[in-house]
C-alpha cells in the first residue's frame, strides 16, 4: 500500500553486540502493529531506528516510497511516545502539546491542543505543569503531544509499563479506540504478550534481534512456529516425538512409546524429529475408567499439584516418562478441584495439537523437572 513502513535488512551493532540482526518487516498503513519480545531482544532498538534516534549499521527504512534511513529525527513524519513520557518539565501542558506544531511553524495551536485534550479525555488541563499530573495523565499527554502532529507512523515505546494494572487495562482500550478513530499506523513495542495480543492487528515476536514469527494474534497463538514462540505467548506442553507415519491428512507420531495423531495442516515439520505441542487450556482431565472421546490424544499421569485461581484451576501432572504437563481447566461448573495424587487421563482433541520441527540435540533428555518416572502402566 501507499504509505507502508518498510524495514529492509536492518541491522544494528553496538561494538561486538548485534542488537538487531538483518530484520525485514512491512508494517501496513493504518494497522496497529506490535513488536513483542523480552528485554534485550532488540525491539526498542528497532523502534528507535525508525524514529531516527539510532543510526543503522546497515539496511534501509522506507515510508511509502520515501527512503528515510538517513534522515534526522526532526525530518521524519514520525512521532514517538516515550516509555518515561519525557514531558518537558519547564513547559505547561499546552506548550508541551503544541511544541511540535510550533516547530513546524504552525501559529494557531490553541484549537488543535484543545481537540487533542478532548481526545485523551483531559479537557481543561492546558495550563497545568507535568509535575502536577499523575502517571496515567502524563501518559495521555505524551500521547496527545505526539498525535497532534498527525504523523504517518506513531511509535509507542512500552508506554504502559509504569502504570498499575487497572489503569493499564483502561489505557489499552483507549489506545485501541484512538487508533481506530484516527487511522494512523501505530507501532507498539512491548514485552507484555497479553497487551500485544489484545491491542494489535499484527504481532511480531522478536527474539535475539530477529523476528521469530509474525501474524494476527489468533494465528500466532493457535499455531506457533517455534518452541520459543509457543512458550513466550502463553504456555505450551511440548513432547519430544518422531513422525512414524501418515494416515490420510493426519500425521502419526510416537512419543515415549505412546501414539498420537495431529493434522498435517497443523504441522511445521512432517517427518523425522518433531515437537508435539498442545496448549494447556485445550486439555481436559478424565478419571481412569471414564470414556474419553474419539479423535482425542491422551496421556496418563498422576496429579502433582493443583492451583486454584478462581476463574480457572491449573493442574500439574507427571507423565509416565517423568515429564511435567500443565492443564488449565476453566471452572465452568461448581465443585471441588481434583486433588494431588489422583490418577488422571489428560486428553485433547487431536486437531488442537501443533507440530514443530525439533533439531538434533534438543528434547533428548527425559524431562527438566525430575528424573524418576512414575510407575504408571501404559
Amino acid at each position: 500500500m501507499a504509505d507502508d513502513l518498510v524495514l529492509e535488512n536492518v541491522t544494528k551493532r553496538f561494538g561486538s553486540v548485534t542488537a538487531v540482526d538483518d530484520l525485514s518487516v512491512t508494517v501496513p498503513q493504518g494497522s496497529f502493529f506490535a513488536l513483542l519480545g523480552a528485554s534485550g531482544c532488540g525491539k526498542t532498538t528497532t523502534l528507535r531506528m525508525v524514529a531516527g534516534l539510532e543510526e543503522l549499521t546497515s539496511g534501509t527504512i522506507r515510508l511509502g516510497d520515501k527512503n528515510i534511513t538517513d534522515l534526522r529525527p526532526y525530518r521524519r513524519p514520525v512521532n514517538t511516545v516515550f516509555q518515561s513520557y519525557a514531558l518537558f518539565p519547564h513547559l505547561n501542558i499546552e506548550d508541551n502539546i503544541a511544541f511540535g506544531l510550533r516547530q513546524r511553524g504552525i501559529k494557531n495551536t490553541a484549537k488543535k491542543v484543545a481537540e487533542m485534550l478532548e481526545l485523551v479525555q483531559l479537557p481543561g488541563f492546558a495550563k497545568r505543569k507535568p509535575m502536577q499530573l499523575s502517571g496515567g495523565q502524563q501518559q495521555r499527554i505524551a500521547l496527545a503531544r505526539a498525535l497532534v502532529n498527525e504523523p504517518q507512523v506513531l511509535l509507542l515505546d512500552e508506554p504502559l509499563g509504569a502504570l498499575d494494572l487497572k489503569l493499564r487495562r483502561q489505557m489499552q482500550i483507549e489506545l485501541k479506540r484512538i487508533q481506530t478513530e484516527v487511522g494512523i499506523t501505530f507501532l507498539h513495542v512491548t514485552h507484555d504478550q497479553e497487551e500485544a495480543m489484545w491491542m494489535a492487528d499484527t504481532v511480531a515476536v522478536m527474539n535475539d534481534g530477529h523476528i521469530e514469527q509474525l501474524g494476527a494474534p489468533t494465528d500466532i497463538y493457535e499455531f506457533p512456529s517455534s518452541p520459543f514462540v509457543s512458550n513466550f505467548l502463553g504456555q505450551s506442553n511440548l513432547f519430544a516425538a518422531e513422525v512414524s507415519g501418515k494416515d490420510g491428512d493426519d500425521l502419526l507420531l510416537t512419543a515415549h512409546g505412546e501414539r498420537f495423531a495431529a493434522p498435517a495442516g497443523r504441522a511445521h515439520a512432517t517427518e523425522g524429529r518433531v515437537w508435539l505441542g498442545v496448549r494447556p487450556e485445550k486439555v481436559r482431565l478424565a478419571l481412569p475408567g471414564e470414556e474419553t472421546p474419539a479423535a482425542h490424544n491422551q496421556v496418563r499421569g498422576v496429579l502433582t499439584d493443583t492451583c486454584y485461581a478462581g476463574v480457572s484451576t491449573e493442574y500439574l501432572l507427571k507423565t509416565p516418562w517423568g515429564q511435567e504437563m500443565s492443564v488449565f481447566s476453566a471452572n465452568a461448573a461448581a465443585g471441588e478441584p481434583l486433588s494431588p495424587g489422583t490418577e488422571v487421563v489428560a486428553h485433547w482433541y487431536a486437531p488442537h495439537s501443533f507440530v514443530l520441527d525439533r533439531p538434533a540435540g534438543s528434547g533428548d533428555e527425559m524431562t527438566q523437572y525430575s528424573a524418576d518416572p512414575l510407575g504408571v502402566a501404559p
Binding site: G52, R72, P73, V78, F82, H90, F99, Q103
Partner: protein, 266 residues
C-alpha cells in the same frame, strides 16, 4: 526533663544546630565590631562604646571605596568569563564521549587540588617571564582560572540529572539540535549555571592569596584588609563585611523562596 529527653532523641540535630551556631559566631562578632568604637587602632576588643558612625560613613577610611570597586569589578569579569568557558566545557564532558575525556577531567580537577600559594606563585612566575604588567587584568586572569574548575563541576552535576530523553523528544518533535538546546536543554540547566556563577562571584570576591601574588600595586578589598591588619583595621571594614554578608544572604533567601514557589508547579 522532657527537654533533655528530646535532646537525647534528636542529638544529631542538636549537634548540627550547635555547629551552625558556631559558624555564625564570628559573623555576629563582625557585626558587633562594626557598631563598636575601639579603644585604639590596633585593638580587636569590644568596648562599651557603641556607635552607628561607621555605618553612616562606610567609605570614610582611605582607599576602602577604591578597593571595593576593584574587587567587584574583578569578580564580575571573572564570573562572566569563567561561567561561559566552564559551561561549554561541562557540556563537552557530560554529553559527549571522546578521546582524552579522562585526561580532561584530571586537568580540570587539578586547580581545585592545588594550594593557592602554588597557583599564585606559578602564575606570578609566568607573568614575570612574559613581562606582563601586574594589575587588574592579571588578577582577573588568575581568578578566571580557579573559578573555571568550580563552574565545570557545578554545571556538570546539574547536566547529569537531566534526562537525555527530553532532548530526544524535542528532536522527535521537529526541533533540530540548536533549537533543542535553546528551548529545552538551556532552560533546564540554567539553575546549575546560576549556582556556578554565584559560586564564582563569592570565590573571586573572597580571594586573597592568589590575588596578593599577582596584583602588583592594585588593591582589592581583601588585600586592603590584610594591609590594614598591620596598621590597625578601620571598623568600616567590618561594616562592609557585614553589609556584603547581609546583601548576599538576603539575595540567596529570595532566590530560594522563588524557587520554592515555582517548584510547586514545576
Amino acid at each position: 526533663m522532657r527537654f533533655w529527653r528530646w535532646v537525647a532523641d534528636h542529638w544529631v540535630l542538636v549537634v548540627g544546630l550547635l555547629v551552625l551556631a558556631y559558624l555564625f559566631l564570628p559573623i555576629v562578632v563582625v557585626l558587633l565590631l562594626s557598631l563598636n568604637r575601639p579603644a585604639n587602632r590596633l585593638s580587636y576588643d569590644l568596648t562599651p562604646q557603641w556607635t552607628f558612625d561607621y555605618w553612616l560613613h562606610p567609605f570614610g577610611a582611605a582607599g576602602i571605596g577604591d578597593a571595593l570597586r576593584v574587587s567587584v569589578g574583578i569578580a564580575l569579569v571573572a564570573t562572566v568569563v569563567a561561567t561561559v568557558l566552564g559551561t561549554l566545557m561541562a557540556f563537552a564532558l557530560a554529553r559527549h564521549r571522546f578521546r582524552g575525556r579522562g585526561v580532561t577531567n584530571v586537568v580540570i580537577f587539578l586547580p581545585m587540588a592545588t594550594p593557592e600559594v602554588v597557583m599564585g606563585s606559578s602564575l606570578l612566575a609566568l607573568f614575570v617571564t612574559m613581562r606582563v604588567p601586574l594589575g587588574f587584568w592579571t588578577v582577573a586572569v588568575a581568578h578566571i582560572l580557579f573559578c573555571l574548575s568550580f563552574v565545570v563541576v557545578t554545571v556538570k552535576a546539574r547536566l547529569a540529572t537531566l534526562d537525555p530523553r527530553l532532548q530526544e523528544a524535542a528532536m522527535d518533535l521537529y526541533a533540530n539540535e540548536w533549537q533543542t538546546f535553546r528551548k529545552i536543554t538551556l532552560p533546564l540547566v540554567l539553575p546549575g549555571i546560576a549556582a556556578a556563577a554565584m559560586l564564582s562571584l563569592s570565590l573571586s570576591f573572597d580571594d586573597f592569596i592568589i590575588t596578593n601574588f599577582n596584583s602588583g600595586t592594585t588593591v582589592t578589598f581583601p588585600m586592603y584588609v590584610w594591609g590594614a591588619a598591620q596598621r590597625g583595621i578601620p571598623r568600616q571594614v567590618n561594616v562592609i563585611g557585614t553589609a556584603v554578608f547581609l546583601l548576599a544572604f538576603v539575595l540567596v533567601i529570595i532566590v530560594q523562596l522563588r524557587g520554592r514557589r515555582k517548584a510547586r508547579f514545576v
